[in-house]
């Protein structure tokens, strides 16, 4: 039986569960023991173990009195100690900012290889291939881990979805040995970010061009439905309909969202220059030969504003369905 340790998702603890899907892809369903490693939450807003209960065979918790939750060096030491005890076959770390600092450090300490920010796992001729994008997503690399230590990787958030329903009997264990080495890092101040609207930071962009000159403000509805932001091509900005700060392109911003919906955008090279490493592109255009269409995963031939209304309605219907379902379960 393989053993996998999943490090907590430091941003959203319940997302840690999704990493079970990675282990499943490596070992097959139910052929591994799952461990979760959980600290006190950084902002001390209560117990973070709860949501994981029922998904992991064992949850190892370490309290603030033993190690500060943001102490990379201390946590690394604790994890190394756990590895000695449990001899995990793999350690999976969500690629959150903290996870991406702890994981390589731990790999070094354990003298094992590590793969960063992975997006897929494939089993090929009996070995596990770890898939990750390189060169800003232009190239995908299949990587195998050769060391004798545990297989280590950091996992891109939001890519894997665990579909298991839980119901596992979870054993809770408290780790109490303070680490010998600690970080000197101290938090001096935490400022909540003002809601600063930077299209470069959005994972979903609903972008409008000449084809939506009239009705540009209507894009917000779709952006809300997809938890994204509205962006614009130069044509829109030139007309004074949108501020320059949301312009995509050579003379505007360069964006790399996961999803880019191009509404009524022709796709001159100056615009496309600002679209880098975008996972999925959907374009809506009355001209199916518009340059942007050849970059798209899906081309919707037709009026962009009409599309916005229809798709928003569809998503909203889906959400209320899902909501009703949840209500029924409770």
């Amino acid at each position: 039986m393989k053993r996998t340790l999943i490090f907590q998702d430091t941003e959203q603890i319940e997302h840690s569960i999704d990493l079970l899907a990675v282990a499943e892809k490596m070992y097959g369903e139910e052929s591994f023991e799952s461990y979760a490693f959980v600290t006190d939450s950084i902002d001390s807003s209560g117990n973070s173990v709860g949501p994981l209960s029922g998904f992991f065979q064992k949850i190892i918790h370490v309290g603030r009195q033993v190690v500060e939750p943001n102490d990379q060096i201390g946590i690394c030491a604790v994890l190394a100690q756990l590895q000695k005890e449990y001899q995990f076959d793999s350690i999976l770390v969500p690629a959150t900012p903290f996870g991406r600092m702890v994981a390589p450090r731990l790999a070094k300490r354990l003298h094992t290889g590590i793969v960063a920010d992975i997006t897929d796992i494939r089993r090929q001729n009996g070995s596990v291939e770890i898939i990750r994008p390189a060169y800003s997503g232009r190239l995908m690399a299949a990587i195998v881990s050769r060391g004798s230590g545990p297989v280590m990787m950091s996992v891109r958030p939001g890519v894997f979805k665990y579909t298991g329903r839980g119901g596992v009997e979870t054993e809770l264990s408290e780790y109490t040995t303070p680490p010998e080495t600690r970080s000197s890092l101290k938090t001096l101040e935490v400022k909540k970010k003002q809601i600063f609207y930077d299209i470069r930071e959005s994972k979903v962009l609903i972008s409008g061009g000449g084809g939506v000159l009239r009705g540009f403000s209507g894009l917000q509805r779709l952006a809300d439905a997809l938890h994204g932001r509205v962006a614009a091509s130069r044509k829109i900005v030139d007309k004074g309909i949108a501020p320059r700060s949301i312009q995509v392109g050579q003379s505007g911003r360069t964006v790399s969202p996961r999803l880019y919906i191009a509404l009524g955008i022709n796709g001159a090279i100056q615009h496309v220059e600002g679209m880098k490493n975008i996972e999925s592109i959907i374009s809506v255009n009355t001209n199916r030969n518009a340059p942007i269409c050849s970059l798209s995963d899906i081309v919707v031939e037709g009026d962009a504003m009409e599309f916005v209304d229809k798709l928003t309605d569809r998503i909203e219907a889906f959400r209320s369905e899902a909501h009703a379902e949840q209500g029924a379960q409770q």
């Binding site: 941003e11 060096i73 690394c76 900012p97 991406r100 600092m101 390589p104 450090r105 790999a107 070094k108 003298h111 094992t112 290889g113 590590i114 960063a116 920010d117 291939e129 994008p133 060169y135 997503g137 232009r138 190239l139 995908m140 690399a141 299949a142 990587i143 195998v144 881990s145 230590g149 979805k161 080495t181 970080s183 000197s184 890092l185 938090t187 001096l188 935490v190 400022k191 970010k193 930071e201 997809l226 938890h227 996961r258 999803l259 999925s280 959907i282 809506v284 199916r288 269409c293 050849s294 970059l295 798209s296 995963d297 899906i298 081309v299 919707v300 031939e301 798709l311 899902a322 909501h323």
Partner: protein, 266 residues
């Protein structure tokens, strides 16, 4: 104060061409540039230096000898020396081995702080700064968006890191490793016109395995603990381009696509 900037010359991924016949990216003859995050790191180091009279900056880069012109461009700024770690036996080193090689060199130098970038355009593993931290027993922080130049001395550094919903100000005891993010906006100064042709070759040292003394099986692809077994493209140009109409069927296709891609969070 001694600063070492660890930088990488990377292929400019935007200049990649696509070979349609063989379905691969053409990686020969492509333009090399200073990794953008690393440029911010050096720019920030130069700002630190500008405020102190006792400060020296060494630029350190591992790569093929061909990075020399790029290194020389950096030495036409207010930097003091450049070191290129280069040896054919290091080719194919993964991050584990790379951080080991860099550490062996760094342990021969005395420094108060290392500046690096957070992400690299090519591999983008962000492993090396953290692994240098582990090897050297130092703190390391990625994603730094601003450094408090007022409170920067040989004992400590104060800096900001931007997260999704907050900005956190940290203090780190030095020596330590500060990894800058390109969002910091620190910009390298321009090389002065008179300095463009300046001969700075005397400031460059090339360090090879003769100096560092690894056994060949410890380094390069042989010594690496991860191996890239194949690469393939998920290219910009070869999207499926599934054309649908703006009707119920088309909307359903888009909807299902979003669902599959995990873009519809309930």
């Amino acid at each position: 104060m001694n600063i070492i900037c660890v930088v990488k010359i990377v292929p400019d991924v935007d200049s990649f061409a696509y070979d349609y016949e063989h379905n691969t990216l053409i990686r020969e003859n492509i333009r090399m540039i200073l990794n953008p995050d690393d440029a911010c790191a050096l720019a920030c180091a130069l700002k630190v230096k500008a405020r102190r009279s006792d400060c020296s900056i060494e630029v350190l880069s591992m790569g093929p000898e061909s990075v020399r012109p790029h290194m020389e461009d950096l030495l036409r700024l207010d930097t003091d020396r450049g070191t290129i770690i280069s040896d054919p036996v290091y080719r194919g080193s993964d991050t584990y081995v790379t951080s080991r090689i860099l550490t062996r060199y760094l342990s021969t130098r005395s420094f108060d702080v290392l500046f690096t970038g957070s992400h690299a355009l090519d591999g983008d593993t962000s492993h090396v700064p953290a692994q240098l931290g582990e090897e050297l027993g130092l703190d390391q922080m990625s994603g730094i968006t601003s450094v408090d130049l007022e409170h920067f001395d040989t004992r400590r550094a104060v800096f900001d890191v931007e997260y999704e919903s907050s900005v956190v100000t940290w203090e780190m005891a030095l020596p330590g490793i500060l990894s800058l993010d390109r969002e910091s906006g620190y910009k390298l100064p321009y090389v002065k016109y008179e300095d463009f042709q300046k001969d700075v070759s005397g400031k460059v040292t090339v360090v090879g395995n003769r100096e560092l003394g690894f056994a060949p099986e410890e380094v390069g692809s042989r010594g690496s603990l991860t191996e890239v077994v194949r690469t393939y493209t998920q290219s910009f140009e070869t999207r499926e381009r599934n054309i649908v109409q703006n009707d119920e069927e088309g909307i359903e296709a888009v909807f299902n696509f979003l669902l599959e891609k995990g873009l519809l969070v309930k």
